[in-house]
Amino acid sequence: MKKYLLFLGLLVGGTGALSSCESFLDVNDNPNNPSEATPNFLLPNIIANGIQTQMFTSLRTPYIEQYIVSRTVNSGGNDQYRFTNAQSTNTFNYSYFQSGGNIPPMIKAAQAEGSVYYVGAGKIMQALILAHLTDMMGDVPYSEAYQGGANYKPKYDSQEQLYASINQLLDEGIVEMSKPASENTRPLYSTSPSESGDILYKGDPAKWVRLAYSLKARQLNHLTKKASYDPNAVLALVDKGFKATTDDAQLQFQAAVAPLVNSTNIFGTTRSNFGTATFSNNFLDYLDGTTFPGVTDPRFGIMAPTTSTGAAPGAGTPAGTNLTPGSTLTDFYASWYARDLGYFEVITYHELKFIEAEAAFKAGNKARALTAYKEGIRAHMAKIGVGGTFAAPAVTFPVITPAQITAYLNSAAVAQTAEQLASPTNPAVPRAIMEQKYIAMFLNPESWTDMRRYDFSSAVYVNFQYPTGNSVNADLSGNADPKLRFPRRLLPGATETLYNPEEVARQFAEAGATTNDDYIGKPLWFDRP
């Protein structure tokens, strides 16, 4: 033992010394961004991104609905019933991360401060987001959603269960929104110091109540294939729904001035998502006098330029045709619905009128059906017939006068008697109602739901064409049952196939599908008897 070395580190021990570190270590709250906010600063995003979810879906569904088709011959795209997981990713993820995930913290903050209208708006928005998602995809997470680190692979709820959850959320939202203003602490909408709160209805809880009832009517009316379908229950909900076009749930687009990004119309020229699309002749035939001989719809020239001839799915259109007059851009960009600073409709008064017409028709109340049907047409024409100009491309929209609306309503294009509401080939099918609803619901994903409910039947959709070309989804076109040759659901989002693969596999197993092309043809719960 020649050398003996001992080093003892200075032990800064003792609880007294350590507790003085407390303030030194208290730096784990991010100084740059808050970790919580008052509900009025969370609700705008929930509304805007909740609705933007439906815009992303609308990049796909208008091709299924044959409002539009690809300009390319045999595109192998959506108009030929081919889809990818990536095309569903935004529909799924915007429902949760960008919008829905912010609802539980907002409701918590609102409950803590007694802002009942924010609680109500949160519940109604959750129902709206979830209803859209399940109608597009079927089973999706809800009861196990939004749990962060506690559950990274949420189980998918069945669509039947989701419909019950949506209904309950709407009922609870109605209760909150019906409370007197004296029970609500924070104003539902404020413009000072900056706009915050309810950007949908600018602080009108009565409109939220009507939105909730309208949504309840829409969801209940989805169940027309089921033995339990009760049209009178739908009519009772319609009575409490929207009263006028001013009640429409829609998002107004805004110029993309920093910090806003991509805030112009998803269908518009600036966002440039539809450069390779044109109108389908299925849609134009309703406007240009083909389906209704001798009647040119006053909306022709507003919804689509009068020079447009349309194309069939898979057939494409030759270069240089179907363009916006005086421009090299596709004619789609000349539509009222493609205005950069237009609006995006979620659910509207005119849709509710058509729901009322269909339910009254099925309830045997043909007189009510006829009245609601005509009011639906009138409301849509009046809404888009206000004129205006747009650039670029330079388009001037004509005004639709009340006299033009009356003339159209009295024309051969419109059923004049209760009997004419039905299909001439099938008295049980309200063809006239559904085809006018189809026109008035231009580009709205809800039209796909209507088509699924009627199995894309030619008794309802007389111009509908099966896509042509050798890139058509063979799993669907080869199906023995002609009713099963159409898309019935979107694929799971690409991120779900990666991070929640067991649930995705369960969806495929339950649908009895092995490939993506096969999967999209399997009807959802609402679409089955």
């Binding site: 570190c21 407390e22 970790s35 705008p44 919008s99 990274y152 949420p154 196939t497 990666l498």
Partner: protein, 464 residues
């Protein structure tokens, strides 16, 4: 700007007993601003302790062998260590971010917060022996290690139905076990000035993902999303350097005599691409060996390093790309008629061999072969001459006359002169997005990467 603060308390004891036993003890207690104390309702200031103990024993001293002509040095060593690690700041309460869409205000940011994060802990055990023979002419060093990391602080991508894109969690147990052997020797050292030195390293590591945070069965390394059909992924029971890929659909019933055979679509006659990522291989080698030989004679020196790698897979993304675009060598068989070796499902659920002849169309290369990942995975074993250096130093006696220059050495080095591999791409030693990715990184993903260059350097070194 972000702030992380750590208060550390150390104690260290280092002692040598009887000149032959070395003992080293270390202890540490940290408090970190980034870890929460949920039991106290605080989002900061969690304390955690860890330490290490190491023992070394020079047994040749005890035995008095220092001057022994055969074994002149021997040391045994062993250590155990525990290391704790904190996380980054602001992960307990995740901040919101601005909504840049209509309406403004705030929304959740990408990362989900976690109020119950704990420190990550790694415990490692090592044992080894170092022996020197023939008065240091031959050296042998052997080291064995085993380490186990638990409660890893990770932020995997998760289902966005959680409300977030990525989620901070503690989770998973990863083990590493390995052996390193170093042999160094001087086979020849002649009086004439000729010398030959060899240095050989053998390295073998087994990495295993023992468990992942329930219910994850795989953690994908998002920076290794290189192709549509391959990903880097850590599967339970597999190495963290795993490859996940799409495969063709196969008979999955292990009872069936056709188990594992490709399913063929009875109407088209082509195989059916699957659409789930499964584990298909490990990118890390089974073992590697490097051998450096150095010859010297007077001022002349020759040194070269041979590098051997055995095992491990590489993803040939270039092959996939050129196959899909119809320019790859596989597509030279286009329009050839083949019958795929597989089975078709009968109505009763049994299988019969596929007999349907089909053409290898570009559609097949594009949408069937190019839609799966497994055909584009290759063995990454190699033998390479990593470098060879020839140098010549002018004799000092010659330079003395200049009075200024003390040394002059010329050298030529060739790098990557020789690569022997079965890999059909450029070089299996590759990484698609650099080496910065945590975990398995993007090593072994070859997709438009620039391979290591082959080169010759010439140098002149002058000492004044």
């Amino acid at each position: 700007m972000s702030t992380r603060r750590l208060v550390g308390n150390f104690a260290q004891l280092s002692t040598t007993l009887f000149d032959q036993v070395i003992v080293e003890l270390q202890g540490r207690y940290d408090k970190s601003s980034t870890l929460p104390r949920p039991e106290e309702g605080k989002v900061f200031g969690k304390g955690f302790g860890y330490g290490s103990a190491a023992l070394g024993y020079e047994f040749t001293r005890t035995l008095g062998l220092e001057q022994n002509s055969i074994l002149n040095y021997g040391k045994l060593r062993a250590s155990v260590a525990q290391v704790g690690r904190d996380t980054g700041p602001y992960r307990v309460l995740s901040p919101l971010t601005s909504n840049t869409y209509i309406g403004g205000g705030f929304r959740n940011d990408f990362f989900g917060s976690n109020p119950i994060l704990k420190p990550e802990q790694t415990r490692s055990y090592e044992a080894g022996v170092n022996l020197q023979f023939f008065q240091n002419r031959l050296g042998f060093d052997f080291n064995y290690y085993f380490s186990r990391t638990k409660d890893q602080l990770i932020a995997p991508r998760v289902s966005q139905a959680t409300g977030f894109i990525l989620q901070y969690i503690n989770g998973g147990v990863v083990t590493n076990e390995g052996q390193e052997i170093t042999l160094s020797g001087t086979p020849i050292r002649s009086d004439s000035g000729f010398g030959w030195d060899i240095l050989a390293n053998f390295y073998h590591n087994t990495n295993r993902t023992e468990s992942l945070p329930s219910p994850l069965t795989v953690v994908f390394q998002s920076d290794a999303f290189i192709t549509n059909v391959h990903q880097g992924g850590a599967f339970v029971g597999r190495p963290i350097t795993g490859i996940a890929a799409y495969d063709f659909q196969r008979v999955t019933n292990p009872e069936s005599p056709d188990f594992g055979k490709m399913l063929i679509n009875p109407t088209t006659g082509y195989p059916i691409p699957g659409n789930t990522f499964t584990y298909v291989g490990n990118r890390a080698p089974r073992f590697t060996t490097q051998v450096t030989n150095t010859f010297s004679y007077k001022g002349l020196g020759l040194s070269f390093l041979l590098d051997f790698r055995v095992g491990g897979k590489v993803v040939n993304g270039n092959d996939l790309y050129s196959t899909v675009t119809g320019t790859g060598p596989r597509t030279t068989e286009r329009y050839k008629e083949v019958v795929f070796d597989g089975v078709v499902t009968n109505a009763d659920g049994s299988y019969s061999p596929n007999a349907r002849p089909v053409e290898l169309t570009q559609g097949y290369y594009q949408n069937i072969l190019g839609a799966v990942g497994t055909p584009f995975i290759e063995d990454a074993s190699w033998t390479r001459l990593r470098y060879a250096t020839l140098s010549y130093a002018l004799p000092a006696a010659l330079l003395e006359r200049t009075g200024v220059i003390k040394g002059l050495e010329l050298n030529v080095t060739g790098r990557n002169l020789l690569l022997l591999t079965k890999y059909t791409g450029a070089d299996p030693e590759t990484a698609a997005s650099g080496s910065g990715v945590r975990g398995g990184g993007s090593n072994g993903f070859d997709y438009g990467n620039v391979p290591a260059t082959r080169g010759v350097d010439m140098g002149l070194r002058v000492t004044f």
